[in-house]
Amino acid sequence: MRYSGFKVIKEALTGHKGWQPAWRDPQPKSHYDIIIIGGGGHGLATAHYLASIYGETNVAVIEKGWIGGGNVGRNTTIIRSNYLLDGNEPFYEFSLKLWEGLEQDVNYNAMVSQRGIMNLIHSDAQRDAFIRRGNAMMLNGADAELLDEDQIRAEYPFLNFNDARFPIKGGLAQRRGGTVRHDAVAWGYARSADSRGVDIIQNCEVTGFRIENGTCLGVETSKGFIGAKRIGCAVAGNSGRVMGMAGMRLPIESHVLQAFVSEGLKPVLPGVITFGAGHFYVSQSDKGGLVFGGDLDGYNSYAQRGNLPVVEDVCEGGMAIMPMIGRARLLRMWGGIMDMSMDGSPIIDRTHIDGLYFNGGWCYGGFKATPASGYAFAHLLARDEPHETATAYRFDRFRTGHMIDEKGMGNQPNLH
């Protein structure tokens, strides 16, 4: 069933009796060509591109809870491609291009809104760094625009321009960046993959791998053994746990990141703003809530909830650039588990076990990467070679010294 404006009107006039479930609820078969562990954004996107681009339809996505219940349902919904390094920027620009065509591709309203993202500048050194980054973005085909203080004042008059410590001196804008209705991304990909024959199996937890003579033959699950020629793992914060069942240690620590939403307000914030002197980012959802976040809590965690010192730190960041945020009441806050890698960049690669592939290490930037991550992982699973935009995302880069460290922090995951 295709969704369309005509269909919505027809159903409105006939009592909404014609809608059907957006995906099936199948029992697992005994064997698939490809199994994807993890029914989040990246896993479901992988299934969609496997089926739609690479013709692989004998595919299962297995998910221990319900689809979209992890980080794709917990992020701050921002999309952008404003990275500096060559290993990253082409990949994220590819992702932004896929976002631009996503809704037509999957026939699902994901509310992709290219409302623009603005990284604020507070010092001369930061302006130099942002000019360099903007140039790197443009060299890779992305858009970037350097704005001075007056231009930002015209767009965002309510910001705290004259803060004694962190005055706003300019900004780097990416107009094609924006926000996306995050849950709809998971649902849209799920519906599209399902309609092409992919089995999405929920409430099915992987409890182990069957590995013989260095080859992975399938997964043990709470619904029994499921065999597959190739198995891809895309489980974000649980990467260490799942790959540990295959005997692997990863260059990843799991950390908790909190996010916040205020009560619904009238439209006040047209785009996405980031604070350059601290760590704070904010946008306004279509329902009116201010959606914002900041730093990791900074310690290993699988708890999906954080602690109060970071709540205070995030709110201080908000007050520093946007004092009017202090008048809004906080409605909800929550935590998600980030797969923080050792250089702040992801991994999409084979493992040393034949037939077992890994997608993870997204740190807290996984949402914007969802389409390209799925595309590149599908490419790897279908062709057994890396996608052209993801050739740098290898496990062995830590061994060979080819780290992709945007922030230059070294192997300290809580600083990326």
């Binding site: 990843i252 620590e253 799991s254 310690y299 290993n300 699988y302 708890a303 830590f398």
Partner: protein
Amino acid sequence: MIINHPLLGPRDSAEFVYMGDAALIDRPDPDTASPEDWHDYAYLRDNPAGEHRELWFHEGGDRSWLVVTRNTVTHEISKVELARDVARARGRST
């Protein structure tokens, strides 16, 4: 989180800086370690869901390093030791 410092008593975790897995104490011997040993030491982590021994530095306090045993699922802290004592017990001289 409250960290029960062995010398100073209960302190707010916000006074501390977090370093990571306490296995970082077990630095390979520079005279005998292979590049592979260094790779594993510097980049690979157990990253357990459950009990985790980890290094915290009391930057906003007495600047001691602690080994904190904390559950990564519940955030419950069950044990706090001076990293100095832990390192000596493992045979490190400094």
